[in-house]
């Protein structure tokens, strides 16, 4: 070659669209297809199963309400994991931060029940976010100071949180009913359900937390794209060395990013307590799994806040419909976990697609260089 050139590999417009929307879409379809095979192999009827699932997720106002209910925490945890990913941090322990947020809500909800609703709810939610952030702080500090991998530390903190909550609900905050649970919160701190402010719909369980989750998605988008912190987070995630050279502190950005991630997960827990259970249960035996599904949500959304809302809606619908699927088609709702794992695989495997695109472009480029030389 006579000259070396800096070649910027640009994707054509439709290829970019294909990768952003097409790949997640195809991944979901592929995962559903493999899920169908598993259902069929174990003696079920996949068509009936997915029909029952759709019916259970979107069949009417009550079903749509259930889907929104299940979507709400997943928006929060999806945002939490996505925010971490943007700084190249894998917050696998959102489950624990969620439990701490729920703990804060159950506690502050009892303490602040006397305040006016408009003041109490924001304060309790804030408490949930702070507890979640605090639970991410030690792993963040360890990552920033000694490089302890956040995948191991946040996971360990998750288990510690579950046992801590388990102690709180049987000990200090127990309602002494024999069931491991805290006392019921006063309805003044409940997040109201949609039927209370939308006239003419039957009672649904979907609650105001959904609106807060959407607002959180908007705030995360704003922080990431319009603030210095967001710029630092993206810079560190993209190329830590270059970011450091450019005057951004990797340590501080790491701590901020993981704590904000924890705060978002904490909001998920607070929203569940204020909006759904209105009290806190033992989390060891009835772990929500929202933290782990949040990983699937973030990956499917490619860490894009808008994408998180839609990915959460998908997984929310799967969760809401799975109950009906069990009822009508006798398929264990655990199939949803399998489909989640598969979706992560297929989405992440879009490297194959990228690889093909790059390869084609490289071949085209090489033949062009050869032609030029001749």
């Amino acid at each position: 070659m006579s000259e070396t050139r800096e070649v910027v590999v640009r994707e054509s417009g439709w290829l970019k669209v294909l990768r952003l929307v097409g790949v997640p879409f195809i991944s979901v379809l592929l995962a559903m297809a493999v899920g169908s095979v598993i259902i069929a192999v174990t003696g079920g009827d996949p068509v009936a199963a997915f029909a029952a699932l759709l019916q259970g997720a979107f069949g009417g106002p009550v079903q749509i309400g259930e889907t929104i209910l299940r979507t709400t925490p997943l928006i929060f945890t999806g945002l939490a994991v996505a925010f971490g990913f943007r700084a190249n941090l894998f917050n696998i322990g959102a489950e624990g931060q969620l439990a701490m947020g729920a703990l804060a809500a159950a506690w502050f909800g009892l303490l602040l029940a006397g305040l006016p609703t408009g003041l109490a709810i924001p304060l309790v939610m804030l408490g949930g976010a702070l507890f979640g952030a605090a639970w991410a702080f030690v792993p963040a500090l360890l990552k920033a100071r000694v490089g302890a991998h956040e995948v191991i530390t946040t996971m360990m903190f998750s288990w510690i949180a579950l046992y801590l909550v388990s102690w709180i609900v049987t000990g200090p905050l127990s309602d002494k009913s024999g069931i491991p649970e805290t006392p019921m919160l006063s309805s003044s701190v409940w997040l109201v359900t949609f039927d209370k402010f939308i006239a003419g719909i039957p009672p649904v369980r979907a609650h105001l937390g959904f609106i807060i989750a959407l607002a959180a998605a908007a705030v995360v988008w704003w922080v990431l794209s319009r603030t210095t912190l967001g710029y630092s987070v993206r810079a560190v995630g993209f190329n830590p060395q270059a970011a450091e050279n450019g005057g951004i502190s990797i340590a501080w950005t790491t701590i901020w990013a993981l704590c904000i991630s924890g705060a978002l997960a904490g909001l998920a827990g607070a929203s569940e307590v204020l909006g759904v259970q209105h009290r806190l249960f033992d989390q060891v035996s009835t772990s929500s799994g929202f933290g782990f599904t949040g990983i699937a949500v973030a990956l499917l959304a490619k860490n894009n806040p808008t994408g998180v809302v839609f990915a959460a809606l998908l997984f929310g619908a799967l969760a809401a419909g799975s109950g009906n699927m069990q009822l009508e088609a006798n398929i264990s709702p655990q199939i949803i976990n399998i489909i989640q794992g598969l979706i992560i695989f297929f989405v992440a495997a879009d490297s194959i697609v990228t690889w093909f695109i790059k390869r084609r472009q490289r071949l085209a480029l090489e033949s062009k260089v050869v032609a030029d030389a001749e």
Partner: protein, 328 residues
């Protein structure tokens, strides 16, 4: 009280508790030495634990006497096969497809959790715990207890701490020694470590990078399968949903604490095993010490964080760990 806590049974229990961690940690060591992070160990163990029990239950419920007698052994075999398949999936995704290794591991963990939960309900009609396996695996050695005297007491200590274990417990010790020898004193081990430190250089001198990494991940599948079988078939005698309870992650910490060496991994796992054994013993004295049981249950996880915090700055990981290799 002290003699009721600190006795030979405590140390024997520590070694038993350390076994699944150690096997997984050694698997993690071999993977990371070859340049592949294996977060999937948790799921690999879980799948092994599950299919081990499924096969042991199936073989044990037949009316063919030799099949019933062999049922736990067939279970161990099934555990290894299932875990190797799961490890193969991780290898394919992270080595061939060059997927982010941590993401691939997470997908496998979710898949394992979903698959075992789903199949549990499909096969046995209920979630939670399976029936106990009909035939258990006994200790390898079974020496008669000599009558009274100081010598007999000394012997009973040795008997409990050295000779009281089921086969996979010894397999873990052998894996540590053989693994150490293979990694640091054979040509194979030298090549494997080269893959994790400088795959490009290894490639240049003719070492097959991708194949070497595949072998490493599949070995971790074998060890993960044994770890799962130890948990379900040898220790508990049945399968509980999510019974690995974070052990795959603790094992990775043990691997780091053991400075990416098989014997180091084993010794670090002993520490975690001891913490686990101690907290189980102490639970019996909960009313005496007035500490809620949950704080005992937290101990292994807290210890993991403390150990990681203490050791991290000084331990050096293989240079290219976690990075997919692309031939030029």
């Amino acid at each position: 009280m002290l003699s009721e806590v600190i006795n030979p049974e405590l140390f024997a229990s520590a070694i038993r508790m350390a076994t699944p961690l150690a096997l997984a940690a050694i698997g993690g060591t071999i993977c990371e030495r070859s340049g592949v992070v294996n977060i999937a160990l948790e799921g690999i163990m879980l799948i092994g634990a599950f299919f081990g029990v499924v096969v042991a239950l199936a073989a044990g419920s037949t009316h063919i006497s030799w099949l019933v007698a062999a049922s736990p052994w067939l279970g161990i075999l099934a555990a290894v096969v299932a875990s190797v398949l799961m490890a193969g999936l991780h290898a394919f995704a992270s080595i061939t497809l060059r997927m982010d290794q941590v993401v691939s591991g997470t997908a496998i963990n979710l898949l394992a959790l979903g698959l075992t939960g789903f199949l549990m309900v499909t096969l046995y009609g209920h979630p939670g715990t399976t029936d106990p396996i009909p035939v258990a695996i006994n200790a390898v050695f079974n020496f008669p207890t000599p009558a009274g005297g100081l010598l007999a007491t000394a012997w009973s200590w040795i008997d409990q701490i050295v000779f009281s274990y089921t086969p996979i417990v010894y397999a873990a010790m052998i894996a540590a020694v053989v693994g150490q020898w293979a990694l640091f004193h054979t040509r194979w081990g030298l090549h494997l470590r080269a893959l994790g430190e400088h795959p490009r250089a290894a490639d240049t001198v003719g070492i097959r990078v991708l194949r070497g990494r595949y072998v490493a991940v599949l070995i971790s599948g074998v060890l993960g399968g044994l770890a799962g079988a130890n948990l379900s078939i040898e220790q508990v005698g049945s399968f509980n949903e999510n019974m690995t309870a974070g052990r795959g992650f603790i094992a990775l910490a043990a691997n780091i604490f053991g400075r990416w060496t098989p014997i180091g991994s084993y010794l670090a796992s002993l520490l975690f095993g001891f913490a686990d054994a101690l907290q189980i013993k102490l639970q019996a004295f909960q009313s005496v010490v007035q500490i809620p049981v949950q704080f005992f249950l937290m101990l292994p996880y807290v210890l993991t964080v403390v150990v990681l915090a203490g050791v991290m700055g000084r331990a050096v990981a293989p240079a290219e760990v976690g990075k997919p290799y692309e031939k030029e």
